[in-house]
Symmetry: C2
Subunit: 343 residues, 2 copies
């Protein structure tokens, strides 16, 4: 066991579910608690969180034991990916001072099994990238686009929630693969970010469009070969109508549906898939777990070559996490929404 | 040119679209005409139709110029596959007396380009099988199941419209691949046919079920790995809820939707695909055209080995075609619906 650090805390603040949200979550659905930290056992480490990632999928895990598995119940710590530093180690694989990334939840300190953590090299890139370009969102963009959607040079790729954590990477990878890339996002500022900073070929602000189908038709005169879907709902319905023969839909998220209390209803378009010999395929990044190293290696290369750019939206302090999460569900962030837990 | 046959007719009866159907087609939407046959030019043959196939996809081509392409207009001959015999040939590849299969439409005689016809060997199997097991429905079942859905031994396969032309073959091929096969069909007689004659492991009559989801759950205690969808609509919605991780939906037809005048609406379940890392893929058999020979060869082998059984529902006379087509849309046939045009 690494010698104890004099700064090792005995308690941690954490954010737990106060009540199961109805519809869009609000701050009162969360509460800040202080808990005593357990001792660090063999195989475990004590980690001080530095950055916390808030992501859309968390919404689907609050309460309702949906098909996504057992939901969190009141009193449970909210789940989330954290980058932190080891303060005390009971495992030979990690030493005090090491940087790690893992599902430590919305808390300032956590005791966790060392084998569930990924060691981060702070010399490769800023450690916060372990939650973004070089983390789960990066892998989600990488495998979702390349393996599920299989882009070919010259194809047209449409990305929804294009200025968000995953979407902003998908478009850049599609550009690296020499596709024409169109983004759908919720503000003019986001569209400017996509086209002026990330190299997207075009995009539209869906809040300003009265006809998503017409907007997509205008921006995709040769039709859509790939639709990388982060949102679901009416934008997806419109994109399906513009699909080309042998098009692929990568189904990543359905953020438009996460906050609905009643099961959403929409046009049936499965027949469009038959007609167009098209494919809609859902995925979860863990299905590619045996190839994470490949993904990290390629994303690191692209990042170092400055072929991938990124923006973080960082708020300060654990207590800001609920507002950051809710803001993200409303689409207020550009780039990856992070919470800085400590310096 | 082959010497003219003394029985060569100068006119043919045909069935044309009288008016564009609204909803379920009725007999008055069709009319019987007599037309003069054109002379047989170079590269052409005159064919006497023997059997005509009526298939669900025809509905989607009546009138509405949908995404399926330009629809038939009043006065146009109804499209359909025919097996017939060459009466007169202007092409060295075919001689009078040869049996051929092709898209000759709902008519007793047709002049067609020889290169658009497939020569049939009547010694392999009854010539009507060129419209069924050894024809487009056979290839649709073969490629749709094997290439799109990729069955593995021990998996559970659910087939909708299971007693129809395509469905009854899909289940038998899935059994050859050692899957557990469940059929959904519209009568108890059909379910008995599936389980007693075709080797299906189980099935349910959807007209007797008040809860398709419960019926599927009961019959698929290990979940659904493959759903071969011929119908769409509520049966599909229920099947989606029973899908296993990495399940595949082969989207062949959407017969439940073909006769709706307003765009159908239903629950949005794309999120289920993400959750289950599942895939829905549409197809059209021509996408496999370079591999038809493989399909015909394998289906012929299975047919000769009596590993594939089939039943034909044959009505007599061109004038019976509209009623046969409408009956099929109502699910009245078991096995392949054919119209015998001549002996």
């Amino acid at each position: 066991m690494t010698p104890g650090n004099s700064e090792v805390p005995s308690v941690s603040r954490q954010i737990v579910l106060a009540q199961i949200p109805e519809g869009m979550p609000k701050e009162s659905d969360f509460s800040l608690m202080e808990v005593e930290l357990p001792p660090v056992g063999a195989g475990q480490v004590l980690v001080r969180g530095l950055y916390l990632s808030v992501d859309p999928y968390i919404r689907s895990r609050l309460g309702r034991s949906s098909a996504y598995g057992k939901g969190l119940q009141p009193g449970d710590v909210i789940l989330g990916c954290v980058v932190g530093q080891v303060l005390e180690s009971g495992d030979p694989r990690l030493a005090a001072g090491d940087f790690v990334e893992g599902m430590l939840g919305w808390q300032e300190y956590a005791v966790a099994a060392a084998k569930t953590l990924r060691k981060i090299d702070p010399n490769v890139a800023p450690i916060s990238t372990a939650l973004y370009v070089l983390g789960m969102p990066g892998l989600t963009a990488y495998f979702g686009l390349l393996d599920i959607c299989r882009p070919q040079a010259g194809e047209t790729v449409v990305v929804s929630a294009a200025a968000g954590g995953v979407g902003s990477l998908v478009g850049q990878i599609a550009k690296i693969k020499r596709c024409r890339v169109i983004g759908v996002a919720g503000s003019d500022e986001k569209i400017r970010y996509l086209t002026e900073e990330l190299g997207y070929d075009g995009g539209f602000n869906y809040k300003d469009s009265s006809d998503y189908y017409a907007s997509l038709r205008d921006l995709c005169p040769n039709g859509i070969d790939i639709y990388y879907d982060n949102v679901g709902g009416e934008i997806t319905d419109a994109a399906v109508r513009v699909l080309n023969t042998r098009a692929r839909i990568g189904v990543c998220g359905q953020i438009a549906l996460y906050n609905l209390e009643t099961p959403p209803v929409g046009p049936r378009w499965l027949g469009q898939l038959a007609l167009k010999q098209a494919r809609a395929e859902g995925f979860q990044v863990p299905q590619f777990s045996e190839r994470y190293e490949e993904g990290y290696r390629q994303l690191t290369t692209w990042l170092r070559q400055q072929r991938i750019h990124y923006r973080e939206d960082v708020v300060e302090g654990l207590e800001s996490a609920p507002a950051a999460f809710i803001g993200m569900m409303h689409g207020r962030n550009i780039g990856k929404q992070l919470v800085k837990l400590a310096s």
